[in-house]
Symmetry: C2
Subunit: 262 residues, 2 copies
């Protein structure tokens, strides 16, 4: 049967829109080629680098199941929305953060195990998101609370959100190698030291400063110097030059994690 549409023998069953409860089973008399209704949600693994640590945005659940447990922000996709639109809307609703323009959103994958939600059949499109110094979330919408938590400092999350979060972290780490994604963690203007800190924080490894600098500057389109800028404020050492993100999307050759080198 073909893809995104029910064929002739597969008309939309108005009176057949069975909502499976619990572990769904094909209902009796159900045409396996007919439209079966699912709930579609989005889940977001939102990362930021604050205070030199990798932080994740979590919300506290108010209702059962998993009441009181931390979970990834997310929610239902509305009939007129794409998953991407729903992701931005839900994030804004649950955190009270209105300016999501600087947020990098990227589809991770879709989680569709039949038993991933104990109550009903839910398919969830997961996103990985990165943002520079996002403000403290307010906890709106249906989230009891919303907080930044350092990655790895919390227990088991609700549903399969531990898996989603781990997948997202792995994906982000891998993408830093061959894309300019790291600049999404930073404000429009940044120093090479800050860029290096992003890599070190996400990868959890220390990098050699002169070598990192040489590599970044040798990659065309990764960063470009800000015309007249040097930074003075707060720094204890020599002021660093300011850079902004370049026009390249991919890094060639890639900036590999030290671990991979054996």
């Amino acid at each position: 049967m073909n893809s995104s549409v029910p064929e002739g023998d597969a008309t939309v069953p108005e009176g057949n829109a069975v909502v499976p409860e619990g572990n769904a089973v094909v209902p009796e008399g159900y045409d396996p080629h007919a439209f079966a209704p699912f709930a579609v949600t989005v889940d977001l693994a939102v990362f930021t680098v604050r205070d030199g640590a990798l932080q994740v945005l979590l919300v506290e659940r108010g209702q059962e199941p998993y009441a009181g447990r931390w979970a990834l922000p997310g929610g239902f996709v509305l009939p007129a929305e794409s998953a991407e639109t729903a992701a931005r809307r839900e994030l804004a609703e649950e955190t009270g953060i209105s300016d999501l323009s600087g947020l990098h959103l990227e589809q991770l994958r879709t989680y569709s195990e039949p038993d991933r939600d104990p109550r009903m059949r839910v398919v969830s499109v997961a996103f990985a998101a990165l943002g520079p110094g996002l403000p403290e979330p307010r906890g709106g919408g249906d989230a009891a609370r919303a907080e930044w938590r350092p990655y790895g400092t919390f227990g088991a999350l609700a549903f399969d959100h531990d898996v989603i979060l781990a997948d997202a972290h792995e994906r982000i780490g891998a993408k830093l190698e061959y894309s300019c994604l790291a600049t999404s963690f930073l404000p429009p203007e940044f120093t090479l030291g800050e860029l290096q800190q992003v890599y070190e924080t996400v990868w959890g490894t220390a990098l050699d400063r002169p070598n990192f600098r040489r590599k970044v500057l040798a990659t065309p389109g990764f960063v470009e110097p800000v015309p007249g800028g040097a930074r003075l404020t707060g720094g204890r050492g020599k002021p660093a030059a300011l850079y902004r993100a370049g026009t390249a999307g991919a890094l060639h050759p890639p900036l590999l994690r030290p671990e991979g080198r054996l």
Copy 2:
């Protein structure tokens, strides 16, 4: 609202399971936090290398819309299935290929634009799949016909399948660089020449044979020699040694496409 479950104010609306027709709009009196039903499908971009060309598995549509047009194989996810399970089942149904054990299946991403299907709201989980010398498809299930077509030799596909196919090709090409994925195109035992041909076919570029060989053999866990094998049949030149896939999953350092080198 949280992810994979409706909260207290979001009970499953039995009489509210509106199936949006056409460009869906939020129905009047619809609680935006309630469960909204979607049809969930899978679409598969299945690649293989045959006769030195990259081939894609396509099916011909029998019904409107897009009747007579070629499309990617796929179909509805059943209530008790994950998207991965549905993908294998649909592929077997539509092609008559029973042995899908050697097939590499990998989630690409989910396409959820509200207007991607002219008839109803369909969210599709797309997969990229690779297989060694798969048999001629029989065209069963709801597919009028099923055929291998050389990539790039066909016109516009149905729905947004052109985009899905292009995304899949790009993903496969990128993954060849840093993973052992190429062996998924080949039978259990293969020569280095065949492995090189996979890279050349997918990337569309010629590679230097001695250099390719040196690189592959220098990467630990990529391939390992078959104890007592040399190949004689059919070849016009010197018989090549046989190799099988190694245990490594990732390639470090990666095998980069020549284009990226500038």
